[in-house]
């Protein structure tokens, strides 16, 4: 995704220290950032902290953003990179302090799919699969989890993921392939617990 002209205008104003302009970018992308943090951390509370840290870091570092250069990535990819770093820091912090461990999924509300006029049974199935998927994502190594989420949930291109993760295209392709294969195997091991569409496959 390329940085839109409107984004560029707001970015330029933000680079001049205009907090109001930056907050317009925040409102535009906060769902993307929060979703990425939530999928990476599996905890709404931790995701909220990481997302807030990411936006603060983004404002402080926005002068380093080169969206206009030929090799520059879009603002969203740049922002998601900062969010991923914030999540990585959060995971490291929590690993060093077991009391803050993210292994408290039971306390968190289940992560949901997009709802489109479903009946109650479909809703239960959807929540079931969402819970399994989140569990499967959490079992992936961080790099693979990040690549799969950026590709399949956030919809970034391989090139944008390469920019956002500071990795080569070959590495991105490999991480996505290994991550998806791991998720597939994880879900297949629990096939009987999954909704019909997956069992039929």
């Amino acid at each position: 995704m390329q940085t839109s002209a409107d984004d560029n205008h707001l970015v330029r104003r933000s680079q001049g220290g205009d907090l109001e302009a930056f907050n317009q970018l925040v409102l535009r992308y906060q769902n993307h950032v929060y979703s990425l943090c939530l999928r990476l951390l599996s905890s709404p509370a931790a995701a909220e902290d990481a997302a807030q840290d990411a936006f603060i870091a983004a404002f402080r570092g926005i002068r380093s953003f080169r969206g206009g250069s030929p090799s520059g990535t879009g603002f969203r990819a740049w922002l998601l990179r900062i969010a991923a770093n914030a999540c990585y820091d959060e995971l490291r912090r929590r690993r060093s302090r077991p009391a803050l461990s993210l292994e408290t999924k039971g306390l968190d509300p289940p992560l949901e799919f997009a709802a489109t006029g479903e009946n109650p049974e479909e809703r239960v199935q959807r929540l079931d699969l969402a819970a399994h998927l989140q569990q499967a994502l959490a079992s992936l190594p961080f790099d693979q989890r990040l690549a799969v989420i950026l590709r399949d949930v956030q919809g970034l291109t391989y090139e944008e993921i390469a920019e956002a993760t500071n990795a080569s295209l070959g590495t991105v392709k490999s991480r996505i392939a290994r991550g998806r294969a791991h998720l597939r195997d994880f879900l297949l091991r629990q096939r009987e617990l999954l909704p019909d569409p997956f069992r039929r496959v």
């Binding site: 409102l27 906060q30 929060y34 391989y158 998720l183």
Partner: protein, 207 residues
């Protein structure tokens, strides 16, 4: 064995195939293989179902606005270097005192040394004349007894006389400023070294 290797290779290409990221010749080879291989076809279907499930995961709505307030982005104390503050703790005052003492001691040393008042000159001036003669004779390579030792005051030839002379000098003039500066310098350096050793230990523990 070779069949297995080819099989693994094709399965490794399935993810890129779903995203249409294979070269044309690789895609054609994979599609030809899929027609004849049920295992790989099933693997592709499972992978596609996984990707579809992931795609159906919606963007979560942020639980609140993350718009920043001015106080959240106020410059930090160490910007733009953004290095964290050293964990000085209760050592801040001793370190400041030591640094101030160090600066004063250095200033005194420079003034005394350049002005050549106090210090060695004064001590030599107040040293008994016999000792001066003794030192002068030594410097000129003459035997002390043959030098110009006055008859009225026998030449003191041991260090006791020398120290006596210095004590006299100090008693006359109070504390030698050069000596005082040296002591202050040594003390300040000592405090600084101990303080930085403690800070280093604290920093390593906090990492």
């Amino acid at each position: 064995m070779f069949w297995r290797k080819g099989h693994d290779r094709y399965q490794g290409q399935l993810s890129a195939y779903i995203d249409d990221r294979l070269l044309a010749r690789d895609r054609q080879a994979l599609e030809a293989h899929l027609e004849s291989c049920l295992t790989c076809r099933q693997a592709l279907q499972h992978l596609q179902a996984t990707v579809q499930a992931l795609l159906a995961l919606s963007l979560e709505e942020a639980p609140r606005s993350f718009a920043l307030r001015q106080e959240q982005v106020a410059p930090r104390p160490f910007e733009p270097g953004s290095r964290p503050a050293l964990p000085l703790g209760g050592l801040a005052v001793p370190i400041r005192l030591a640094a101030a003492s160090l600066a004063v001691a250095l200033a005194v040393l420079v003034v005394v040394d350049m002005g050549d008042f106090g210090g060695d000159g004064e001590v030599r001036d107040t040293t008994p004349s016999a000792e001066r003669a003794f030192e002068t004779g030594q410097a000129q390579g003459e035997a002390p007894a043959e030098s110009a030792a006055p008859e009225s005051s026998p030449a003191p030839t041991d260090s006791a006389a020398e120290s006596e002379g210095r004590q006299t000098a100090q008693a006359d003039d109070g504390l030698d400023p050069l000596r005082a500066a040296e002591i202050a310098l040594a003390a300040a350096l000592g405090i600084l070294i101990v303080a930085f050793a403690i800070i280093t230990l604290r920093t390593r523990r906090s990492l």
